[in-house]
Symmetry: C3
Subunit: 157 residues, 3 copies
């Protein structure tokens, strides 16, 4: 069992079977040492989007639910990265997370929501999980989900 | 005539003359093997943004019009990539598309709109056109257009 | 004093002390020759977000204030790049700027606002500052700021 897999077990995180592509795009592309992960939403291990993770921050979704959704986006990112690399120990570094928060126009607290994603990345990867980040509040997201996160990793040869 | 040019001809796609930069930015930057294409909107071969491609999904723009706009964004991406590379056969892979859908806050179907872009990419490049993708619904876009798409390619030395 | 530092002095630009990270992310990541800068808002040299740079374009923030905010985002990007590289002369090229304009749904002039960022980049770096760019109008931004800009640089070995 790899170091990162062990850490996931310690954290009680079960990676879902990564979703098969449902359109003419793919969940990840590896180009040289750069691994691009498509925007992931907070689909659960049961393959469903929980009602608690639908809607808008500043509306029906509160900060804690948004943070939980952001964490789940990272769990799905990890599942895709594992599918891409075979072994998460091949991750050299998480370079960047892009966080998209579905919110009301007067919501100004998107970074706190996105911390749910960033905190989990650092719990899993340690210092290698410290990433550059851009967080924005968006008008809508696929399926009406509250949070979407995309990722870019550097991987070892 | 290159393989991809031939494919474009088969598909009846005429690449427009790529728009000259109108500000202090450029339509593409090649850095090593990575070709970054600036966000493209659905300007037509006539150099104009059709009325059908202005407005918001979930408002005056329906899904089919949005998909057509997304396709046209990719046509403009191809025109810029050709200007950058000389020959589209130098494309090793489409790494990523970023899709920005101008929409009402309750619109949840942005991925279906973005499929207009993804489907064309795969029609043109085949498996090399399968890309990572992030799609979000945004509050507004330049000129009031319905769709904007940015791209990242890996190119052969 | 480096060439770029000299240019900054000529332009009367004082780089602020780059903000220390306040969460589990970092302001920049260098991966190979690629330097990713986290989304920067228009925090001033005094460490504060000016009231003039809060709110929405098409609402209480006019084009000129938006352009000033976009410029200030680039100043903060430069401060982070300098912290990352030690010397801004190591910048080989500004590859890409991502511009996020907090705006009303009917605002269609985001590119003009973003020109505040692009123009400063070219004033500072000359032709090496000409970048690919994606500009979108977003529903909200951190702290209610009007503009956020992220950057990607290519650096010399």
């Amino acid at each position: 069992m790899g170091t990162i897999d062990q850490k996931l077990t310690e954290l009680g995180i079960v990676l879902p079977t990564p979703a098969a592509p449902i359109a003419n795009y793919v969940p990840f592309v590896l180009s040289g040492k750069l691994l691009y992960i498509s925007g992931q939403i907070s689909i659960g291990v049961d393959g469903k989007l929980a009602d608690a993770h639908r809607g808008k921050l500043g509306g029906t979704v509160d900060r804690e639910a948004g943070q939980a959704a952001a964490r789940l986006c990272v769990v799905n990112i990890l599942a895709q990265a594992k599918a891409a690399l075979g072994d998460l120990d091949r991750v050299a570094r998480l370079i960047r997370l892009g966080g998209f928060i579905n919110c009301e126009p007067d919501f100004i607290d998107a970074p706190a929501v996105m911390n749910g994603a960033s905190d989990l990345a650092v719990m899993v990867f340690g210092d290698k999980g410290r990433h550059a980040r851009t967080t924005i509040g968006v008008a809508s997201l696929p399926l009406g989900c509250a949070v979407e996160v995309e990722a870019l990793f550097e991987v070892n040869g």
